[in-house]
Symmetry: C2
Subunit: 299 residues, 2 copies
């Protein structure tokens, strides 16, 4: 099996496992208030690729960890990612009508319920992270991972990055400013997904540190690939309009560096990510091929 | 010292302690991105009465617990409360321009930043709850309290209640529906503040249960008092417009029951709260006078 076939089978298998776990963990769609539960399910099951949970599980495997006790953590990362998309799409933010080929939450449920669905999913992530039953992990380790995830999701991470991104609409950032925005907005949650997997597997500090370097480069690479796709991507594959960054005059890697240099930057980060886990054995194969996939992704 | 003087001194002392802790715990106002940090500080220090943290600490004291290790929990409750006010005030929600006599977050910082400040404060609550340093509490106990707080703040609690409240604008609820809305929207976080204090103090199940009953009645009572104040309150004391519920035709305790019956209902819940902690010794005096204060509050 070549890398491409391996990756396709691996991602598809992992998406299935994560989807099943999400269905198990998310409060039942029939719950009260009904419309809020429906809105939560709508966005969680709108066709996400589950990259963050898959990275968490792949890092865990690379360190020889057991999947089952890590599933609530992997799923919590997806709930946090989903909430951030709902809020980012709001009229007051990026004002996007479509996401993954479907109308965005506020288009279907109205703005008020979209805001609340986001709030509820973020909160539910922490309900899930702190569940006591059936988790055979030391409480101290769980608290440490909760702390890492909350920090990466908050003002020092994802939310901070989103605030910088909004500000960039009026104050065009330079390259350093753009990289800082992306490191926080997209990079922090991806990096913590990988790090959480390592901590949950009980990896030693050296391995955790190596995987943190891998995750940080991967996070930035993911955003550069996103910027390139916004210029060159096929909107039918993406499920949303492309070309919007150029139209709005938004500062991106391609707009600052040119498309070729942006692509070179992406390759640099992917190489740095791969180099960081060179010493890992063959259990790190998924992490290696995922890095390649992010460089070549079409949607 | 009569009860009124005791309460005034007690609340003022506790507000000071909570404010000091919030200043210590909240990321520095000078942090990057600057506008987001400013927006977070603006709402957290906009003159809140700190009722939820004070209730948490009072329940802790009533069970003989030590204040210091509980401070992050008490403050996290205030961050969650503050985020909920920022989001509730948004144009898509209640569209309020003033809160505690000051312009609301979106009026000062714009809608996008107000949404993000709310998201950041909610996330920061969990950063605080999961901090490892200097907290001398068993990790299992901390996880259990995090779980209780997240559950009370989410779809099965506060956010669920807010969704019911928005829905009530088009589908006027009956008394049962109204009570359910209030139990979730306002009651859940107040009840969990009291319960968290009891758990953190290491109280036995019987005491935790009694305090949970106290907190549940107090939470509903708090909302009935709010509804009555909206009809009869002095807007200069409240720092916001009164009479808005009548003007908008909103279903409230006074509109469903009449003002006298609403007041009787409030007294019933206050009595039930007091009765639930009758067996507690004099260390429960603050909880007793706080219940009285909620019945008589003017703002």
């Amino acid at each position: 099996m070549n890398n491409e076939d391996f990756l396709e089978a691996y991602l598809s298998d992992r998406q299935k496992i994560v989807d099943e776990a999400l269905r198990r963990y998310l409060p039942d769609e029939g719950g009260v208030p009904h419309d809020l539960h429906t809105a939560m399910h709508y966005s969680v099951f709108a066709g996400g690729k589950r990259i963050r949970p898959i990275l968490c599980l792949a890092a865990l495997e690379a360190c020889g960890g057991d999947l089952a006790p890590a599933m609530p953590f992997a799923c919590a990362l997806e709930l946090i990612h989903t909430y951030s998309l709902i809020h980012d799409d709001l009229p007051a933010m990026d004002n996007d009508d479509f996401r993954r080929g479907k109308p965005t939450s506020h288009k279907v449920f109205g703005e008020a319920l979209a805001i609340l669905a986001g709030d509820a999913l973020l909160t539910e992530a922490f309900v899930l992270l702190s569940r006591m039953e059936k988790v055979r992990l030391a409480a101290e380790k769980r608290l440490a991972v909760i702390h890492e995830i909350a920090t990466a999701a908050g003002v020092a991470g994802m939310v901070g990055g989103q605030a910088l991104d909004i500000r960039a609409e009026n104050h065009s950032p330079d390259f350093e400013g753009l990289e800082c925005t992306h490191r926080l907005k997209t990079g922090a949650l991806i990096a913590v997904a990988v790090k959480a997997g390592a901590i949950l597997a009980g990896a030693n500090d050296e391995k955790i540190q190596s995987l943190n370097v891998y995750g940080s480069h991967l996070g930035i690479a993911f955003q550069i690939a996103d910027d390139i796709l916004n210029v060159e991507g096929d909107s039918s594959l993406m499920g949303k309009k492309t070309g919007s960054d150029v139209a709005s005059g938004k500062v991106t890697y391609p707009s600052l560096l040119g498309i070729e240099n942006a692509r070179a930057k992406l390759a640099e980060h992917i190489e740095a990510a791969a180099a960081a886990i060179e010493a890992f054995d063959s259990r790190a194969l998924p992490l290696r091929v995922i890095a390649r996939y992010i460089m070549d992704r079409k949607s």
